[in-house]
């Protein structure tokens, strides 16, 4: 029968091999996932043809404000959730930044536009492209982040996976926003959200099986 002292001896004998600190693994993963997303975007999507003109318009630019806010806040939360004993609850409120931004933009849009144009703006031209492109660009980053979660030690594996999905979705949406010609906040709030939440659900399901330790 193995007693605890003997176990301790064997664990101590197994020290000595260097372990990469988790924070550097996270930064590496972030860089790798942006590279993967950029590659998939370049090959499969590419920017919209009128991007030079679009950059002049606030609605187009605002899409990036929202998606980058989501990616940054989710990165902080994902890092915290990957470590035992970390106060992840303290960083969760930042995740509200992107939803709050888009809700404010939706309200502004509803005020700015006459009601008879609302449904056309919401439905847009590319909802199916949006629903497929964001998961397509985001699936690689999600896989990378789930590997980091597995390497880490999330005490809430499902929640950690969901946040990893939001992070992957934020990165994917940032790239896809450059391709997408629907710039109305009504469209973004609807279709981007569905695609990103899809990645979050996927992340939660896989993480719950795959990132247990």
């Amino acid at each position: 029968m193995m007693d605890t002292d003997e176990l301790i001896k064997s664990l101590a004998a197994d020290t000595g091999r260097p372990v990469a600190p988790l924070s550097s693994v996270w930064w590496l993963a972030a860089a790798a996932s942006v590279a993967v997303a950029a590659a998939v975007f370049a090959v499969a999507l590419g920017p919209r043809p009128d991007i030079a003109a679009a950059i002049e318009t606030p609605r187009f630019l605002f899409k990036f404000v929202v998606t980058v806010a989501l990616a940054l806040s989710a990165f902080g939360a994902a890092c915290a959730l990957s470590r035992p004993g970390e106060n992840w609850r303290a960083v969760m409120p930042y995740l509200a930044a992107a939803p709050v931004l888009i809700i404010v933009a939706v309200i502004a849009e509803l005020i700015a536009l006459p009601p008879d144009t609302w449904s056309a703006k919401l439905i847009g031209d590319n909802s199916l492209v949006c629903l497929t492109s964001i998961p397509l660009v985001g699936i690689g980053p999600l896989a990378i982040f789930l590997l980091v979660m597995r390497h880490g030690a999330p005490t809430r594996p499902a929640l950690a996976g969901a946040v990893a999905g939001l992070l992957a979705g934020g990165i994917a949406a940032t790239f896809y926003a450059a391709k997408c010609t629907d710039d109305s906040p009504l469209f973004v709030a609807t279709w981007y959200s569905i695609a990103i939440i899809g990645l979050a659900v996927l992340g939660a399901i896989f993480s719950n099986r795959f990132a247990r330790w």
Binding site: M2, L11, V19, S23
Partner: protein, 178 residues
Amino acid sequence: MSGGEETELAGLLRAAIAGDEGAYTEFLRQAACLVRGFTRTRIVRGGIDPEDIVQETLLAIHMKRHTWRDDGPVLPWLYAIARYKLVDAFRRRGRRVEIEIDEIADTLAAPEAESVSDREVHRALASLAPGQRSVVAAITVDGRSIGETAQDLGMSETAVRVALHRGLTAIARKFGRQ
């Protein structure tokens, strides 16, 4: 949680991660005592041997020591691992654990697996591949050093270290991934 204990443990763990075996042994001994106290007060119903939780927590600490921020506190990290392992042990045995429901909601959602019984680390040892088992057993059960084990088994020290590491990793996985 005294500040002195925290500082001492942080110093030991920092030295351990840098490769100091003696500091690591001392750290794990103190950690075992803390976790033992933690689990004994929380296991109110029978069916789980607190020492199993202590051992599973020590293994998890070892496998996940890179998740400690070396400028952060040790005790919250250590107790979070112990709590996770305790909840996980109850989950695997298909029982409810009598600690804050808030802490366990996420973990309980997982699919359950077959139940496992007494002195789990020892049982897991028996299920290792023969090569790994002889190395892990020599070091843990017979108390051999890496060097002695290498001589006895006619292996290089590096090979012994690799086999030990893989064996311990396999044991740790048995607990987490079921």
